[in-house]
Amino acid sequence: MATTVGVVVFPGTNCEMDAVTAVEGLGGSGRLLWHGDDDLSGVDAVVVPGGFAHGDYLRPGAIARFSPMMGAVARFAADGGPVVGICNGFQVLTEAGLLPGALQKNRGLKFLCQPATLRVETTASALTGRASVGDELSVPINHFEGNYTCDDETLARLRDEDRIVLRYVDNPNGSMDDIAAVCNEGRNVVGLMPHPERACDELLGSADGAILMASLLAAA
């Protein structure tokens, strides 16, 4: 049986099929999970994909976190199930309290869609189990609100507990401590602003994201 990855769809989500394509390209199976349902239908892992859930009204992720599906995702995460939030999905996970910190507007106050070089900082996470610390990966970013921030105490904990999963080599958006991805205490929930699903095919410019998506499949 192929590993099944559930991909959450809110109205306004737009990267759901890209996530499915990347998962299926690596031998997994993708299944769309509608925001209004509260049943994960037995998936082995969850991706909360990119896009503009509920139009980013109020602020990104602020409405999505109240959906029945996010309740199911929280229970899945609490049981140790692997959950990865990509871009808007990262914003949803912070709003839902599954990850610490918040994503504010980019330092330059512009939307940015461009390649970014990421350094793998830990392999103890649902997103990086197959990578090596120090690996540099070219993975695109595509966001307006990707500037990670948290209070000093949280930052100290993230550092002490080795929960900063990826850092930007050349910080594009002003993120605190160059943070591109963090994980929860259980290391099974990871949020990242870059889009690994967009970097799984050399024809599209980079296949460096495949090791991250493969790590998620392996963690399931």
Binding site: P11, G12, M17, T21, F52, G55, F111, N142
Partner: protein, 739 residues
């Protein structure tokens, strides 16, 4: 109709933008005097923007047919068969005047409108392109417009979830008072699912989907899009600009595509220019039927709206679906899932009358033959005359530059500041994105997502400088450049869409330019065997009585037959030889360099269409066969700018010889491509060119950290890259703080 007649003391039809003759014709059609609501409906449908009344007699001269054309001009979008059971729908439109007044919303709603045109055909929109033209960078208002427009495209396009994969950005004096914001959209659909915007089946229901109807955009097509700007009226026209909501549009797209997937709609039509009047009359007349519209059923954003406001509002994110009564419950259920409002507002009737009613059984507020609204608009053959003094002082009289290196740097501008703000990668199709000669997208099945191993390629091109010098030859050169752009990514052309941006058609010089441009385009398209499958005419691009330079923009769609690797792009590899493919003939007339010195008149370099096709075929095969590692079309700025852009993008220097003078460096002419060739493959490349009967010049070597043109210039690569990269960020704001 007190609300209408109070607008102005002059006769109502004039206040609505109708001429006296047009008012008489309306009364003749109706066989009685038209009431205010009827006049309002005719005024929007017979506006220049909707009826093409000044341009239609000329557009008939364009070639529109080919075996692969499924839908030609006149529908919501052109459609071609691209093989593997897949059809591509493509359309381009202008949103020039709204963007001049309210840049963010003007551009945003331009994006929204073009998307609806595409999914109206049953296609999923997969890519946008944005050819943008603004006034000069040193003009604060032009910078404000540019920033707002780019933000609007970014804000709407990114959120609605359709990638913006290419376009152009041009800054020039001619657009100071009237920017051009053109938007192109590409969609794909299974060939068998093609849907046309028509109603049929008496008793079927017209269901209005999406946003409620407000007072925004009333008279957008007539008051705003079909008249020029005077000195100080942009404040007055702001209420005619619509406001966009990409989240509503995203849900509308998904809802409509599901309705189409389940076969629940007989016909579907977007509400764009002229709003409900256009959607109801066009669907009815295309289907050869009539329609009763209950205007009181239309959900409204505010109380107190009158019937004529509801019928002409251009509120965004609305669609009209024609459904069978039996399917209505399922339609409403799908709409509820996607949180899309759906209201039955009309019934298909026999006979052909469009009746606007206050309640289906209530008072008849208007009754007109549906077809007369969009088929009986008057056609004008407006007077044409060539301008006496075409383009100012002759370019050939300009003195040679004292510092050609500095002048070359001044011509460079990397558009990355613009396209970095656009999601250009969504859907995992973008093999070559913005910033290259043409865009390449993977062609995947629209329903199954299965890869075909082939690609679609697209470019948008315009050159107002060439077209100002000679609209006929200039437009042909623009078409030729598009064909070559596609060749540079290994693609062959299939079809053209055009956006014809011109000045005031009541000026005989403008109508002459228009007619000449149409003929230039027609000649070139026939020579290159690419039909024109759709277009948009934007007239009245003028400000304070001055018309813009003629700016026909060409969108070219093509296919890459075997997409197994990324084309090399405009880059250099150290140690590679630089070869110019194509003729030597260039001209400074209409060139970027000459325009920077205010003298562009003269004669454009000639286009030999046979040679051009040979060059295009050669370049395509060199790219597909992997024989070149860098390739770049020589266009605006001539050979100097072409090589400088390859240097800027690669960071590799170049040493050029055999460039005689500034005219050879900056002169522009068609059918020219620079390629970077591995020395070991040079013989093979030159032999291929000789076999194709394409002239070649070995112009130099890629190497080192300087761009050197013997006896003309010597510039460090670092300076060149900085000039290229920093031009737009320095003028428009850094965009990102790490650069």
């Amino acid at each position: 109709m007190p609300g209408v007649s109070d607008l102005s003391p002059e006769p109502l039809h004039r206040a609505l933008g109708l001429t006296d003759d047009e008012a008489v014709k309306i009364d003749e059609i109706l066989g009685r005097e038209a009431n205010g609501l009827e006049l309002a409906m005719y005024s929007v449908m017979w506006s220049e923007h909707c009826s093409y009344k000044s341009s239609r007699i000329h557009l008939k001269r364009l070639p529109t047919e080919a075996p692969w054309v499924l839908v030609g001009p006149g529908e919501n979008a052109g459609v071609v068969d691209v093989g593997d059971g897949i059809a591509a729908a493509i359309r381009i439109e202008s949103h020039n005047h709204p963007s001049a007044i309210e840049p963010y919303q003007g551009a945003a709603t331009g994006v929204g409108g073009i998307l609806r045109d595409i999914f109206t055909m049953g296609a999923r929109p997969i890519a946008l392109m944005d050819p943008l033209r603004f006034g000069p960078l040193d003009d604060p208002r032009s910078r404000w417009i540019a920033e707002g427009v780019v933000s609007g495209v970014s804000g709407y396009g990114n959120a609605v979830g359709v990638p913006t994969v290419g376009g152009e950005v041009v800054f020039d004096e001619t657009y100071r008072g009237n920017p051009l914001v053109n938007v192109l959209c590409l969609g794909i659909l299974p060939t068998e699912r093609l849907v046309l915007g028509q109603a049929s089946g008496v008793g079927n229901l017209a269901v209005l989907l999406g946003s409620s109807t407000g007072r925004d955009g009333i008279g957008g097509v007539s008051v705003l899009a079909s008249a020029g700007f005077s000195e100080d009226d942009d404040g007055d026209k702001r209420p005619s600009v619509q406001v966009g909501d990409p989240y509503e549009e995203k849900r509308l797209i998904e809802g409509c595509l599901q309705l189409l997937d389940e076969g629940l709609v007989v016909g579907i039509q977007d509400l764009g220019g002229a709003g409900l009047t256009c959607a109801t009359s066009e669907t009815a007349s295309r289907g050869g039927v009539g329609m009763d519209v209950d205007v009181s059923a239309v959900p409204r954003r505010e109380p107190g709206m009158e019937a004529h406001e509801v019928m002409t509002s251009e509120s965004q994110e609305r669609m009209l679906a024609i459904v069978e009564p039996d399917g209505l419950d399922r339609v409403l259920a799908i709409c509820e899932r996607w949180e899309v409002a759906a209201t039955v507002i009309g019934r298909v009737t026999d006979g052909g009358a469009l009746r606007i009613l206050d309640g289906f059984e209530g008072e008849v507020l208007a009754e007109v033959p549906a077809a007369s609204l969009h088929e009986d608009a008057p056609l004008y053959d407006r007077p044409r005359s060539a301008p006496a003094d075409p383009a100012g002082p002759p370019a050939d009289d300009l003195a040679a530059p004292s510092d050609p290196g500095a002048e070359l740097l001044d011509l460079l501008a990397d558009p990355a500041w613009v396209y970095r703000q656009y999601d250009h990668q969504l859907f995992l199709n973008t093999v070559v994105g913005p910033g290259d000669d043409a865009t390449v997208l993977k062609l995947r099945h629209p329903v199954t997502g299965e890869e075909t191993g082939r690609g679609l390629a697209m470019s948008t091109d315009g050159n107002h400088r060439w077209c100002a010098v000679d609209p006929r030859a200039g437009t042909a050169l623009v078409v030729a450049e598009s064909v070559l752009n596609l060749a540079c990514v290994g693609a062959r052309p299939l079809a053209v869409v055009n956006c014809l941006n011109f000045g005031n058609p009541e000026h005989p010089e403008v109508m002459w330019q228009f007619s000449e441009a149409v003929d230039g385009m027609g000649d070139a398209c026939r020579a290159f065997d690419v039909p024109v499958i759709g277009g948009n005419v934007s007239l009245y691009n003028e400000s304070a009585g001055t018309d813009i330079d003629p700016t026909p923009v060409i969108g070219l769609l093509g296919v890459v037959d075997d997409l197994c690797s990324r084309p090399p792009g405009a880059t250099l590899v150290d140690g590679h030889r630089l070869v110019l493919l194509g003729p030597d003939a260039t001209s400074l007339a209409g060139s970027l360099w000459a325009a920077a010195h205010g003298a562009t008149a003269g004669v454009l370099a000639p286009l030999d269409t046979d040679l051009h096709l040979r060059v295009a075929v050669l370049v395509r095969s060199l790219v597909v066969d992997g024989l070149v590692d860098g390739v770049h079309d020589v266009s605006a700025g001539g050979l100097g700018v072409a090589v400088a852009e390859m240097v800027a993008r690669s960071g590799v220097g170049a040493h050029l010889a055999r460039i005689a003078d500034h005219a050879a460096l900056f002169g522009e002419g068609p059918s020219r491509v620079v390629v970077a060739v591995d020395p070991e493959r040079l013989t093979e490349v030159l032999a291929a060119a000789e076999a194709a009967e394409v002239p070649t010049s070995r112009i130099g070597l890629a190497t080192g950290d300087r761009l050197v043109v013997k006896d003309l210039l010597d510039v460090p690569v670092d300076h060149l890259r900085a000039a290229h990269r920093d031009r737009l960020p320095a003028a428009l704001g850094s965009g990102t703080t790490n650069r």
